[in-house]
């Protein structure tokens, strides 16, 4: 029996030592090699002060090194904290300081930002993946005078032995930072227990075996990556890490699926829509020379945001051998339900979206409640509360938030703790359907964005009096964010300067596509900004812009 996520690697390395655990850019890393390298990294980390429960940052692009980092950190007894390598500096520094990361794992491509991070994060004192030749003391303005321990990837030892660290399943395994409504990100804490439970449940549900080849589309800081990094290795499968350049070019992406003979796909619908529309998967008679063969795919998993049905059924038609499933679960609980989409029956009308999120996993339970936490009747809309062994411990150092995000009740003479998902659902024909959010969270290409956070970033500018952010549906089945601000009286501020100001605070996917400086906001009867009316106006003008763009062609 295994009870730690790190034991996934030990077990698969003894069963399938010569099998590729991970692949990236055509290069493979076998389970035996991954084990040796992870042990070596762990030995180095422990020798340089990493202790049980320490948070270790991973600041890497999509690469084989990220797999070594995840398993190496676990074997050192630490918890990994994946940091978006493209996030604004202030946001990354916030996470590093907030969970007191002392050691960061990176690569030389990120070296230009390491100096800034070292300056912004006083706790940081140990860097893996930085060449010795890189000067930390570069100039008067960018010098780091404190002592920083470091080691380049090529100098890390290989080892058959993991350090002697005692861990239990309740120990912290990873923290993922996600958008928070107050303007600062919050860190979702998962233990070895919640991570391993998820790995096992998912491997079982999707019948993963060592013969599977999982396409890893999601970056490490995105919760969907846990299927590729935990469940794949659990069964001895091969995870093919897809570098970000491929995710931008659907025709290269489809080529990679073909070349690597991927069997399992898991991503947000956006990527699948791109694959269908631009992936060269059919001969369209317009000069197409090649057609990709995606017949290796046996299961297409998607989740994170609604999938417009015409694109999903469109792809299903092109991949008749594959099953399609809608996967549901906020990062706080990993995953708690799935819906296997049946093909459309003859004459069955196509819905707008693939709304069913299905049934709750056998090893989990749910309550659907109204605004006063009273259970609603079957068929009524309510908020989904879920209790599952794949659930997080809470948010790192957020006692007030942890009080609010869980719901406690008595079940079978025991205190049962449920996570409040904030998702509104409705049960129809035995399946839950996602109908919306209780709060102002929106999803863009699967990324969670709190509109409140965007407003907080705008209002942080000293010349901004009030701000409103709202979402506008766009034509590719996703949404775009727009915002409007009122300035303090008698000041002027260029739109570009305000955009530059918030770009230092928000990740690029949360940046408003449109920003207006206005003199008044529409108000509701109680004097609040009427965001619904602003949204409606934006939807109307976006429609006009789209139809004009099409009529020109």
């Amino acid at each position: 029996m295994i009870y730690l996520l790190s034991q996934i690697l030990d077990r698969s390395a003894s069963r399938f030592p010569d099998h590729d655990a991970f692949r990236c850019e055509g290069v493979g890393l076998t389970y035996a090699e991954l084990l040796q390298r992870a042990n070596g990294l762990a030995q180095w980390l422990v020798a340089h002060g990493v202790e049980r429960g320490d948070r270790v940052g991973i600041y890497l692009n999509k690469s084989l090194e990220s797999a070594i980092a995840v398993y190496g950190i676990w074997k050192a007894g630490g918890a990994y904290v994946p940091l978006d390598p493209n996030a604004p500096l202030a946001r990354t520094a916030y996470a590093i300081n907030h969970c007191e990361i002392r050691c960061l794992i990176t690569y030389k491509g990120r070296r230009s930002r390491i100096l800034d991070l070292l300056q912004a994060s006083p706790t940081l004192s140990c860097i893996v993946g930085l060449p010795d030749s890189f000067e930390l003391d570069q100039s008067v303005t960018r010098s780091v005078t404190r002592s920083v321990t470091r080691c380049d990837w090529t100098n890390l030892p290989l080892s058959d032995q993991a350090p002697n660290v005692r861990l239990m399943e309740q120990d912290l395994a990873y923290i993922m930072y996600t958008s928070g409504s107050t303007g600062t990100p919050k860190g979702i804490m998962h233990t070895h227990r919640s991570g391993l439970n998820y790995a096992q449940m998912a491997a079982d549900t999707y019948k993963l075996t060592h013969k599977d080849r999982l396409g890893n589309h999601s970056p490490l800081h995105f919760d969907m990556s846990t299927l590729d990094y935990f469940s794949g290795p659990l069964v001895g499968a091969t995870t093919v890490i897809i570098p970000s350049a491929y995710t931008k070019l659907p025709a290269s992406l489809s080529q990679l699926v073909q070349d690597e003979r991927m069997t399992i796909w898991y991503s947000v619908p956006f990527a699948l829509i791109q694959l269908l529309l631009r992936g060269a998967i059919e001969e369209n008679g317009e000069g197409e020379k090649e057609k990709r063969d995606l017949s290796s795919l046996r299961w297409v998993l998607f989740g994170g945001e609604p999938y417009p049905a015409k694109y999903m059924y469109g792809l299903m038609e092109k991949l008749p051998q594959a099953r399609f499933s809608n996967v549901y679960g906020p990062a706080e609980i990993n995953q708690c339900s799935y819906y296997h989409v049946p093909p459309l029956a003859d004459g069955e009308p196509m819905p707008d979206q693939v709304a069913p999120i299905g049934k709750i996993w056998a090893n989990a339970e749910e309550i659907v409640v109204d605004d006063d936490d009273r259970p609603v009747s079957v068929g009524e809309i309510g908020e989904l509360l879920v209790r599952t062994p794949t659930m997080m411990q809470g948010y790192w150092r957020q006692p007030a938030l942890n009080e609010r995000c869980f719901y406690r009740t008595e079940i079978a003479n025991q205190t049962a703790v449920f996570y409040r998902t904030g998702d509104l659902v409705q049960e129809i024909d035995g399946n839950y359907h996602f109908v919306g959010r209780k709060d102002r969270q929106v999803k863009i290409r699967g990324y969670r964005i709190e509109l409140d956070e965007i407003e907080a970033a705008l209002v942080a500018h000293e010349q901004v009096e009030e701000a409103a952010a709202y979402s506008v549906p766009s034509e590719v089945g996703s949404v775009r964010v727009e915002a409007a601000v009122i300035l303090k009286s008698e000041v002027t501020l260029a739109k570009e300067d305000l955009m530059a100001f918030i770009a230092d605070r928000l990740p690029s996917y949360a940046m408003p596509q449109q920003l207006e400086i206005v003199s008044v906001f529409p108000r509701t009867g109680t004097g609040k900004i009427d965001r619904r009316l602003l949204q409606k106006r934006a939807v109307d003008s976006y429609r006009v812009a789209i139809s004009e763009a099409y009529s020109v062609q």
């Binding site: 692009n61 390598p85 493209n86 970000s244 350049a245 491929y246 995710t247 931008k248 070019l249 659907p250 025709a251 290269s252 080529q255 956006f270 791109q274 631009r278 992936g279 060269a280 369209n284 317009e286 000069g287 197409e288 020379k289 090649e290 057609k291 990709r292 570009e496 690029s508």
Partner: protein
Amino acid sequence: MDNQEILKKFISEDLLNSRQRVEADDDLLGEEIIDSMGVMRLVAFVEETFSCKVPQSDITITNFRTIKAIDTYLAARSL
């Protein structure tokens, strides 16, 4: 302006809102420069500006990684 200059101007000024000046050898698809929506706009711009249809199967890393690569691709097409 030659093709490379036209592409440089479009990518720097329109796609990147003058945040960054790109050079012919810069990796456009690397982490931070252009996202997937940007790639679509770039392809539309290439089709319109150079009056050619770019088939899906040509929109690949080989042809679109750098401004030089796009230029080479366009030159090969006009042969």
